[in-house]
């Protein structure tokens, strides 16, 4: 596959450390590489041209930081510019001054609107709101069933109407949501092509009826060059406020996100990273910038690690570890350090040589999030003195974290193992972080590929996604 961008830049600029300034010709060579990398990431051609021109200007004559090679310096500049561009604008959802806050989702067919509607409802419910869902996709077969099943799963009411008129469905749905005092209403609409005049007209009418506080364009991260035209037309017709970027759990570089941001100025608000309903996250521009660039290099690992792990936090932990203590508080802070470095898969990919080995390895971020939820459901005493966690406490913790007692047990067992490990390790090094314990989290395939044990496999596929 492709070499990483920084490898190629190294080729273009030479790997000599600390060679003063970035010169014209070297920059031109580097910019060609960047252009190619962005095109391979599906950033729109015109956006690429503009962006490269802008970066070029900034890079010209820039001083190379002492510890970096010119290639790395260029990566740094590009990454910074990209992050700034992606990060402009608020990623917060607007709240209506008098409830309900209405959120309208729109986009192409199959982009992930219905799933995103349910996920958003869950996210908002977990933030203490009372969401409701309105089914206004009357086009796709069984679309309403789909939303209803998802609504049931998360215990959020779904308002449906027996009509073929989405405007009527929205009117009725909003009425019922108001009557039931829902403070957020999410409207799921049918997918449509931006060049389908009647359906775009219909969407306009739905928007006028719904008077949404937020209109969100749901965009598939795998979208190619057309993303620009899609976004521009949706922008003209329904003036969306932000983007939900979906299917980011795959390996798409997601350049479409940059294209859409560049041509509409609208921020990415949320990213969807899986099919499970808790897999919706707020947007992090720096992670997205790294992803689009495909920067697999140590430089950024070091930078990220430095930024993430605050010295004293680390020292305090090491101190306790040396004494062979490993409480759930340590567990939590270790996990958070890890998480702050970015999506786990991304971080591990940064380690040279590991990227290719990671192919086919599942790193289940949701599982990590579950671990965090479990620890957060413990009392401070329980975190410090895990042995007090008896049967009834376990049940309470499971309920509070939305997990099962079994999962809680598993975590308790992991901590024990970890503590044992710490004791054996005695003085010195940073220990294995929780993500690497067997919580069903990262797992390298065995030497002969499919040799993961049968029973384990069964469990995994049951707890699928």
């Amino acid at each position: 596959m492709f070499d990483t961008l920084s490898d190629r830049l190294q080729g273009a600029l030479g790997g000599v450390r600390g060679s003063a300034r970035l010169e014209d010709e070297a920059i031109s060579r580097a910019m060609r590489e960047i252009r190619l990398a962005l095109l391979e990431a599906d950033v729109n051609l015109n956006v690429v041209k503009e962006f490269v021109a802008q970066v070029r200007e900034r890079a010209l004559g820039a001083e190379v930081t002492k510890s970096l090679t010119p290639g790395q310096e260029v990566v740094r500049i590009v990454h910074e510019e990209l992050t700034a561009l992606m990060g402009a604008g608020s990623s917060k959802l607007a709240v209506a001054p008098s409830p309900p806050t209405v959120i309208l989702l729109a986009g192409l067919q199959g982009s992930g609107k219905t799933t995103a509607a349910a996920k958003l409802a869950l996210l908002l419910r977990n933030e203490g709101r009372k969401p409701g869902l309105v089914a206004a996709d009357l086009q796709r077969p069984a679309a309403i069933d789909q939303l209803e099943q998802l609504g049931r799963q998360i215990q959020v009411p779904v308002y449906r109407e027996d009509t073929s008129d989405p405007v009527g469905a929205v009117r009725a749905g909003l009425q019922r949501a108001r009557a039931e005092q829902r403070d957020v209403v999410i409207v799921d609409t049918a997918g449509r092509l931006q060049i389908d005049e009647p359906l775009m007209e219909e969407l306009g009418a739905v928007r006028r009826e719904a008077r949404p506080t937020n209109v969100l364009l749901v965009l598939d991260a795998m979208t190619g060059q057309e993303a620009v035209n899609v976004a521009q037309t949706f922008q003209e017709r329904v003036a969306f406020d932000g983007v939900v970027l979906t299917k980011l759990d795959g390996d798409a570089r997601g350049g479409a996100a940059l294209s859409v941001k560049a041509v509409t100025g609208k921020p990415i608000k949320l990213v969807s990273v899986g099919e499970k309903l808790d897999q919706l996250e707020y947007f992090h521009p720096d992670r997205m910038a790294s992803r689009i660039l495909g920067m697999g290099d140590v430089l950024s690992l070091i930078e990220k690690a430095e930024a993430a792990v605050e010295e004293d936090e680390q020292q305090a932990m090491e101190e306790r570890l040396r004494k062979g203590q490993f409480t759930f508080d340590d567990f939590l802070s270790a996990q958070r350090m890890l998480r702050r470095m970015g999506p786990l898969q991304g971080v591990l990919k940064l380690i040279p040589g590991l990227g290719s080995q990671l192919k086919g390895v599942d790193i289940d971020e949701a599982q990590l999030r579950r671990v965090e939820a479990i620890v957060l459901s413990m009392t401070p005493q329980e975190r410090r003195l895990p042995h007090v966690i008896n049967g009834s406490r376990r049940q309470r913790i499971a309920r509070g974290s939305g997990t099962t007692v079994q999962q809680v047990n598993q975590l308790l067992e992991s901590r024990k193992q970890m503590e044992k490990l710490m004791k054996q390790m005695g003085k010195g090094k940073m220990p294995t972080l929780p993500g690497q314990l067997d919580l069903g989290a990262p797992q390298a395939p065995g030497p002969n590929g499919g040799s993961r044990s049968k029973s384990k496999k069964k469990k995994r596929s049951k707890a699928r996604r």
Binding site: S111, D145, Q149, M222, G360, D362, R460
Partner: protein, 316 residues
């Protein structure tokens, strides 16, 4: 001229095509007034291509990249056009070269009775819809069809396929949500073994090609089908959304590794995306394109015809 269903299905003297079918998707697209596809050639001023002008070559490259053809297939096309010594008219030679990269006309493996078609792809590309449309075409060409709902994951996936089965006048094997998809496929083959069905089409849950456990699950579905019936699955169709960018290549590669894809259905070509990723997939992986989806209605499926597709890509 376009490719007929009888040709695609390998029926020597099959049913005559309707006029609408004969016009093919290219004609339909051209007719449709709401479409705002911008022609590549418009962007290129192809009528007066000057090979001595570097900027003209650059515009060509950019137009191809802008159509999602990708960097490598674009380079190959440029190389071929250079070798041909194009001058003046670019549109004709370009369409020819694109068609050439797309390869020979393919057929759909439905000769065996029963034949099994396994349909796979990432989430939301149009698998279930394509199956519904294909079932109707097969019915029109005198096949009895059984649809199997082996997407046991997505909410209401079963209900959706059942509605399509009714529309297409096909039989249907259902499933419980959360059931083992391989077991559903097995049930369907069991039912077809009674001899009443010519073609079994197995719908599967969308999955990203990077999800190892889900790809394993899919490989198991395939193994169960192969174990149950010699020579099955006769087709493993990968459904690719025409709006997809360069990730489409990776999809084709990894689904190919996991379940041995035999052909591609390119959907949503009624949109403004030009579907250039098909060229990249055909060129880099040699996978044949077999079907194109051009809308959400029952009739909106066409046999893939490379010259048509290439002309539509170049001329809008």
């Amino acid at each position: 001229m376009t490719r007929t269903w009888s040709e695609l299905l390998g029926d020597a003297d099959g049913r005559r095509e309707t006029e609408d079918e004969q016009r093919g998707f290219f004609g339909r697209l051209r007719d449709s007034l709401t479409k705002s596809r911008r022609a590549l050639t418009g962007e290129l001023a192809a009528a007066a291509f000057d090979p001595a002008d570097d900027a003209a070559w650059e515009r060509l490259e950019e137009a191809l990249i802008g159509a999602d053809v990708g960097v490598r297939a674009t380079a190959e096309l440029v190389r071929r056009l250079e070798a041909r010594g194009v001058a003046g008219d670019l549109a004709g030679p370009l369409a020819e070269e694109i068609a050439d990269l797309l390869g020979e006309p393919a057929t759909l493996g439905v000769a065996a009775r029963p034949s099994v078609i396994l349909v796979v792809g990432v989430n939301g590309t149009g698998k279930t819809t394509t199956i519904g449309k294909l079932a109707q075409k097969l019915r029109q060409h005198d096949r009895s069809v059984l649809l199997a709902a082996a997407d046991t994951f997505r909410a209401a996936a079963e209900e959706q396929l059942e509605i399509w089965a009714r529309r297409a006048d096909a039989d249907f094997v259902g499933s419980e949500r959360g059931a083992d998809p391989a077991a559903v496929a097995y049930d369907a083959l069991e039912r077809a073994a009674a001899g009443a069905h010519d073609v079994v089409i197995v719908d599967t849950a969308g999955r990203l090609h990077t999800q190892a456990n889900l790809m394993d699950e899919l490989a198991k579905v395939r193994r169960v089908i192969a174990g149950k019936l010699d020579g099955a699955p006769h087709e493993t169709l990968l459904v690719v959304d025409a709006t997809t960018g360069q990730n489409g290549l990776q999809q084709a590669r990894l689904f190919g590794d996991a379940v041995g894809v035999t052909g591609v259905a390119l959907t949503k070509l009624d949109g403004s995306a030009k579907g250039g990723i098909a060229v990249a997939i055909a060129y880099e992986l040699g996978l044949p394109m077999k079907l194109v989806g051009v809308g959400e209605a029952l009739d909106d499926l066409r046999p893939f015809h490379a010259p048509d597709f290439a002309r539509a890509l170049v001329a809008g």
